[in-house]
Amino acid sequence: MSASKTIKMLSRLLCTALLFGPAVAFANEGYDLNLQPGVTEVSQMQFDLHMLVLWICTIAGIGVFAVMIYSIIAHRKSKGAVAAQFHESTTVEVIWTVIPFAILVAIAVPATKGLLLLESNDKADVNIKVTGIQWKWEYDYIDEDGVKFISQLPQAQEEARKLGSGTDVTTVKNYLLEVDNPATSDDTTDGYIVVPEKKRIRLLITAKDVLHAWWVPALGVKRDAIPGYINESWFYAEYREGEDNIYRGQCAELCGKDHGFMPVVVKVVKQADYDAWIAKQKSAASASAAADTQTFTMDELMKRGEQVYNSSCAACHQPNGEGITGAFPAIKGGKISTGDMAGHINIVVNGKPGTAMAAYGDQLSKADIAAVITFERNAFGNDKGDMVQPSDIK
């Protein structure tokens, strides 16, 4: 940040800090200081309510601070002020108890309405099961057979965000707010949740391992993802001509090491485009199901396995397979990954409850699991020489 810009920002900050009031004025001028109104009824309700309470607080603040400042200026000893000795008055005490109470009631009315809207439970048109997993999201369009995919930070950003990556992240487009589907890493918009416009979308939010929270500010949705429970939320968006209709958000509940790297991207499209997208997803799903019945060569498995490893496993076990002592075991020379094959398949398919090691059986295709196990057993100098085929995975 340049020095002159710093000074400009600092002086703006000073103005706002000194006078809460202008903050509101600034806020309305799109200085990026304020909540954004968003694109749904709920997010606009939240924005209006936010502005209402902000104004009430600002006015109350100006009132209280004005009296204090006046008193500080006028009633100082150096000006010869002599202390009065009054120290109670039931009347004023009652008044200044009742007034805040009345203000609160005035806030509570729209707040109640807003909350009932936010939690309303009408019939939905599209149901999407959203599962938070350390550190990615899985989306399952439960009305559409087989439309289910993982969405996570793209590989390129994974590299850029590493400590000492040497990348100037200000040049990375949508840094930390972009997603990709690791199964088809060719097309970077593949991890987007695509939804049709003017439809009530119901989100069924849950988690596999720890708490996460699914949050897209512009849609006004933030909801915790809790393992073992399903939380519902919803939104309804319109397609906006001339805009990209892409809304970005992040995981909003501390979920471990890479909590900061778990973005969410939603794309609102016209119904026809949605139908086309669903069709494409379905054919991709059947292609991957076909792979599950195939038999691969060692080279194919290793190549595929490396890709899966880097996108799904390296976050914990590290790209070099050495893990992180004390938290994530090494794959390189690891007990299980150089041990008995059945044990290796078991831990990958079923995970280990109570640890960060998730059950990959329902996250990855059989082909991918077979490939990644083969990769682990032969990479990093493990050189076991054995091979797993999709048919070996139960």
């Binding site: 002020a81 806030i107 807003g114 200000t170 006004g220 992040q250």
Partner: protein, 519 residues
């Protein structure tokens, strides 16, 4: 009155004297402030620019976690207990605390608890990957359950709780049983009142926290399923139990600060505290309400809507008694004859900035909008306004106010004022922009962020470095005052009233061995 006291290290290890123990608490707290503050500096340095520059993500999470825990349990709470130890007996005319040996125990558990808390950071693997607790100061299950050295953390919390409970029992027994004749409850200085109520809160909620961590322990190591849906439990149950403790906890940190400020403002306005009785009732009302609002930290967990409505209404109600307090302070200053020595500056800073933090608290309490604010830097801004410019400002104000009584020397007024202005300007540069990035959508507890948040984060970090450096000045001022300076009079402040100002400065080792008469 004899001023004879034991010397050497044994004086501090074995002491049963409330003033020694108060001193121990205060120094412990200051040390922890520096440790926790240094961690905050790591946080602010990493967040200075987008991109990862200094630490690994897990190390960052560990810094956040340990910073929160150390500040809450190591810096703020022990400082308040330190004040209670020094001041409560002197303010009510008691010869010492009611249970002096237990008082020593309450203190000496603390360093061991702190050791237990920080030890895992240095155990096992690569230090830079963050081996310590990294699950937030709220240690939500099941994330905390993944941590392989969880038992150390759990027992640290048990020890902290044990210490707090014993300390609180002592304070309550002292206040109820040791008052000088004539010191009726409604004549007690407000600081004593706020501590009485705080101690009650502590005894009520620390055991619940102990229960929560005990359930974590058995869930992780002994097969229970309190927080695991697979056995019929619920991770959200943990949050309910935690916040049943956690919300009163935030008032535990602020009520004694209210008390300190209520002592200081009348002194420098030279006018009795306005609405003493309503102050007492308001404190009690805040304490009562604090038990029934906990789930406002959990609006997004998917509670039934009736629950959300109830917790919203109850939460915003707290603004009423708090408003009474703010108005009473204002009315105390009104038509006073004010001077602005350092303690008064900090107290006024407290009233202004705590109120700002209170307003954002009110905004958070409005459930539909909390869905947007929750877990963003808006929350971080809120609680630093109430905690740093609230609780910590109260503590600093109290230190300047009573330091002459404790040491017998006046601090340097010029340096004190410099400390105030440096801190107050920088603390706003530090925390005010966090409102903006929060509203823009920056989540909390993240080590890296999209460049759109970059400008305000850089400003915030700069403010943070200056604020941190100003606290070094505080340390220097305190040491200078202990070592010398203008001698303080007994009354110290022209407008000061109360028993503690009737005894010599520095306060002798034993005071009020024969109870004073209070009219």
């Amino acid at each position: 009155m004899s001023d004879h006291h034991p010397t050497g290290i044994k004086r501090w290890l074995f002491t049963t004297n409330h003033k020694d123990i108060g001193t121990l608490y205060l120094w412990f707290s200051f040390t922890m402030l520096l440790v926790g503050g240094a961690m905050a500096m790591v946080i602010r340095a990493e967040l200075y620019e987008p991109g990862m520059q200094l630490v690994e993500p897990n190390f960052f999470n560990m810094m956040t976690t340990m910073h929160g825990l150390i500040m809450v349990f190591g810096a703020i709470m022990p400082a308040m207990v330190g004040f209670a130890n020094w001041q409560v007996p002197m303010m009510i005319g008691a010869p010492d605390m009611a249970l002096p040996r237990m008082n020593n125990w309450s203190f000496w558990i603390l360093p061991f608890a702190a050791l237990m808390l920080v030890m895992p950071m240095f155990m096992g693997g690569d230090f830079m990957q963050g081996q310590g607790p990294a699950f937030g100061w709220t240690f939500y299950e099941p994330l905390s359950g993944q941590y392989n050295k969880l038992a150390f953390f759990i027992f640290a919390v048990h020890l902290l709780g044990f210490s707090s409970i014993m300390g609180s029992i002592n304070i309550i027994a002292t206040i109820f049983n040791m008052r000088a004749p004539g010191m009726t409850l409604m004549k007690m200085p407000l600081f004593v009142w706020t501590w009485l109520i705080t101690a009650f809160l502590l005894i009520a909620v620390m055991p619940v926290l102990a229960g929560a961590v005990t359930m974590m322990l058995t869930d992780k190591y002994f097969g229970t399923s309190f927080f695991d849906a697979a056995g019929g439990g619920d991770p959200v149950l943990f949050q309910h139990v935690f916040w049943f403790f956690g919300h009163p906890e935030v008032y535990i940190m602020i009520l004694p600060a209210f008390g300190i400020v209520s002592q200081i403002i009348p002194t420098f306005a030279r006018k009795p505290l306005f609405g003493y009785a309503s102050m007492v009732y308001a404190t009690a009302a805040i304490a009562f309400l604090s038990f029934i609002v906990w789930a406002h930290h959990m609006f997004t967990v998917g509670m039934p809507v009736a629950g959300e409505l109830y917790f919203m209404y109850a939460t915003v109600m707290i603004a009423v008694p708090t408003a009474v307090k703010v108005f009473n302070w204002t009315a105390t200053m009104w038509k006073g004859s004010m001077t602005f020595e350092t303690p008064m500056l900090w107290a006024i800073g407290f009233v202004f900035m705590f109120t700002i933090g209170g307003f954002t608290g009110l905004m958070l309490g409005v459930a539909p909008t909390d869905f947007q604010y929750h877990d963003t830097y808006f929350v971080v801004a809120h609680f630093h306004y109430v905690l740093v410019t609230g609780a910590l400002y109260g503590i600093i104000a109290g230190v300047y106010y009573w330091l002459p009584k404790w040491t017998g020397n006046m601090y340097s007024e010029g340096l004190g004022k410099l400390h105030f202005w440096l801190s107050t300007i920088s603390v706003n540069v530090l925390f005010f922009p966090q409102h903006f990035v929060g509203l823009e959508g920056m989540p909390r507890r993240i080590p890296d962020y999209n460049p759109m948040f970059a400008d305000w984060n850089a400003i915030s970090s700069l403010g943070g470095f200056v604020f941190g450096a100003s606290q070094i000045l505080f340390l220097v001022i305190i040491i200078m005052t202990i070592r010398g300076g203008k001698k303080a009079t007994d009354q110290v402040w022209e407008g000061a009233e109360g028993l503690e100002w009737t005894i010599p400065s520095p306060a002798p080792y034993h005071t009020f061995e024969t109870a004073p008469e209070v009219k």
